[in-house]
């Protein structure tokens, strides 16, 4: 017997055609149809073309996991086009890869090899440590990017801008003095070459600072301690204590060390929206984030949102007393703009978090806790609110985690903690792969996104700022 569906039940077409003439409400999709018993159609029966399309829509860690499922997927997941797009999405410099017009096979191999080698460098490569005596007081915040720009802020009120020099760049500079200094400090007679304390004498410190990290300029804040900074799109914003507590610097990428430092332009006293708090910037900014147009600052008492074009406060969020906001992040997902807040309401609170955009409407959150564990969430943003998948916990015995950073392409999480260790986690398998020991608590760590170009010794650079006031990589 034939079953016939009337056009009425399949009507959205007619309704929608009618829409063009009369303005009606858009039709919603029909309610869920009862799921019929059907012969199993498993995903491995899909043609390769469709599987490739699915692989192309996954994020880097997803491709990594899926391609390890079996040999067929390994072949599919090794498609060079997928990796080229992932590399672009990750912001990896494509100049290191052959251009897109090159041979596809070479291209894919290079991109794939890049991921494999990066992972190997993280887990098995030799880590050289070099200390730079940068500040007199603890370094609290750090910025590092793939172009080699490093900005450090400290409680001594200074913000220093550095250029990270690679080995061969250094050699090209041809400054024999620097090279000699590097060698000289590399093997001090009294201290072990890797983890030892360096001589505090001024000369050594300066030359050491010049050897790998070249100081470009020093910006002095008019207030006191610097607690947080963010560099994005040529705009460096620092927050801390004192008055004014927020400084905005227009900072172009330093091309040569001879450029005179820019004058800092303090933020004009903005109008606040709360009548009880007129014309005053809070004196202690604990954290901030900006995207070039909007600035979000976190204080002990709440959160403020500023418009950077006018310098005015556009929104104030007052938090209950006792909320210690330690981190704010702006997360953009299409039209949705979210502010992520982490705070310490009670003892086992979130200390610090880092986000990786995993798609147009998703975020990967990594949070470090006071109990020494890391938890990773996949957060789905939607206009109505956000939902999160159950967290993946990376646990080990350690002290209070102070900072986290993520290498999205290699699927690696770096966490610094109070117990003087930097731990390197494999997020793909959820296991601890490496622990680096320091001599003082690590307050912030950043992955620079560059690996040393020395082919025999692949080493991924991590910059760590330490309580002792040194920067190290």
């Amino acid at each position: 017997m034939q079953r016939t569906h009337s056009t009425e039940s399949l009507g959205p077409d007619l309704k929608r055609l009618k829409l063009l003439e009369e303005d009606e409400e858009e039709s919603e999709p029909a309610p869920p149809a009862p799921i019929r018993q059907r012969k199993a159609a498993t995903i491995d029966q899909l043609p390769s073309e469709l599987l490739t399309a699915i692989f192309g829509l996954l994020a880097a860690p997803g491709v990594g996991r899926a391609s390890r499922a079996c040999r067929r997927f390994w072949a599919l997941g090794s498609d060079w086009k997928i990796w080229r797009d992932l590399c672009i999405a990750d912001g990896m410099s494509l100049s290191r890869l052959p251009t897109t017009s090159g041979d596809p096979a070479t291209m894919h191999q290079t991109a794939l090899r890049h991921r494999t080698e990066t992972r190997r460098a993280w887990f098995r490569g030799s880590h050289r440590c070099r200390r730079v005596a940068a500040h007199n007081l603890p370094v609290t915040c750090l910025h590092a990017d793939a172009e080699g720009l490093v900005v450090s802020g400290s409680w001594d009120g200074a913000v220093k801008v550095w250029q990270l020099m690679m080995d061969e760049e250094e050699a090209r500079e041809g400054e024999g003095e620097d090279a000699a200094a590097g060698v000289g400090v590399e093997t001090p007679p009294a201290t072990p070459p890797q983890w030892g304390e360096w001589d505090e004498g001024g000369g050594v410190r300066e030359r050491e600072a010049n050897a790998r990290l070249r100081l470009m300029r020093t910006l002095q804040s008019q207030g006191g301690k610097i607690d947080c900074l963010k560099y994005h799109a040529g705009l460096l914003i620092t927050g801390g204590r004192g008055s004014p507590s927020i400084h905005i610097w227009k900072l172009e990428r330093p091309s040569a060390p001879t450029i005179p430092p820019h004058r800092p332009a303090p933020l004009e006293p903005p109008r606040t929206l709360t009548p009880s708090d007129p014309h005053r910037i809070p004196t202690h900014v604990t954290c901030l984030d900006h995207d070039g147009t909007q600035l979000v600052t976190g204080h002990v008492t709440g959160i403020r949102v500023w418009d950077l074009a006018t310098g005015r406060c556009t929104a104030v969020l007052i938090c209950p007393p006792g909320t210690d906001i330690v981190r704010v992040e702006l997360a953009g997902a299409g039209a949705v703009m979210s502010i992520l807040i982490s705070c310490i309401p009670t003892v086992p609170g979130i200390r610090c978090s880092h986000k990786v955009p995993s798609g147009p409407t998703g975020l990967d959150l990594v949070c470090g806790f006071k109990d020494g564990n890391l938890r990773m969430w996949r957060v789905h943003l939607a206009p109505g609110g956000a939902t999160a998948d159950p967290p993946v916990t990376l646990s080990c015995l350690s002290d209070w985690i102070t900072c986290t950073d993520v290498d999205a392409l290699a699927d690696v999480v770096v966490a610094g903690s109070w117990d003087r260790r930097v731990r390197i986690w494999d997020a793909e398998r959820g296991c601890l792969r490496r622990t680096l020991r320091e001599t003082s608590p690590v307050l912030c760590a950043r992955n620079t996104g560059r690996d040393s170009s020395d082919s025999t010794e692949k080493a991924r650079n991590i910059l760590e700022a330490m309580q002792g006031g040194r920067t190290q990589q």
Partner: protein, 187 residues
């Protein structure tokens, strides 16, 4: 039930023909009948059917023949969902097509209607019935509807993206590889 639907269908057709006679300026909506492999029949607008490249080519080849189409390889459930999708999207101008780059396909967002559409293929527990998604993907691939193929692959990708390897193997129905093979894959 089906007889009644049939009757109503017929009576409606009759009425519309009367209507067409009365004001002949209005173009008659071209209809065609599709019969699936499990013997369910559907009547759809020509414009809706032309979303599928498969039907479009077939219509061009067999123009003017009012015979019902037999659609192989597609079940009634899938075709019902496909018609639902095509009915909604047949007037869209910026459908995903085969010429889109991987990047634009990756960055494209799932619309509100599409999201509800996919959610309705999902069972009570909130897990997508991957079999149903896959069945629909295969049907869309066979009928060559680029928009639906994109939507389905994107939904499947979103489903398997956060899953660990073991779960991916389960979903893909892949046997756990031997130790030696595992070693090769772990490179």
């Amino acid at each position: 039930m089906f007889h009644r639907a049939n009757l109503r269908n017929n009576s409606k057709n009759g009425r519309s023909q009367v209507g067409q006679n009365r004001n002949s300026k209005k173009k008659p909506v071209a209809k065609l009948t599709l019969i699936t492999e499990d013997n369910e029949s559907f009547t759809v607008c020509k414009k809706v059917a032309e979303m599928s490249m498969f039907f479009k080519n077939m219509l061009q080849d067999t123009e003017g023949i009012p015979a019902p189409f037999i659609v192989p390889n597609v079940s009634g459930y899938d075709l019902k969902k496909i018609i639902e999708y095509c009915s909604y999207h047949c007037l869209d101008t910026d459908c995903p097509n085969d010429n889109d780059s991987l990047r634009s396909r990756r960055d494209r967002k799932i619309g509100h209607w599409d999201e509800t559409f996919v959610r309705n293929i999902i069972n009570k527990d909130g897990d997508p019935v991957i079999d149903n998604l896959v069945g629909l993907t295969k049907a869309a691939y066979f009928l060559d509807i680029p928009g639906l193929i994109w939507l389905m692959t994107k939904s499947i990708a979103n489903t398997i993206d956060p899953k660990p390897i073991a779960e991916i193997r389960e979903i893909f129905n892949v046997p756990v590889p031997s130790e030696r093979e595992e070693e090769i894959l772990q490179r």
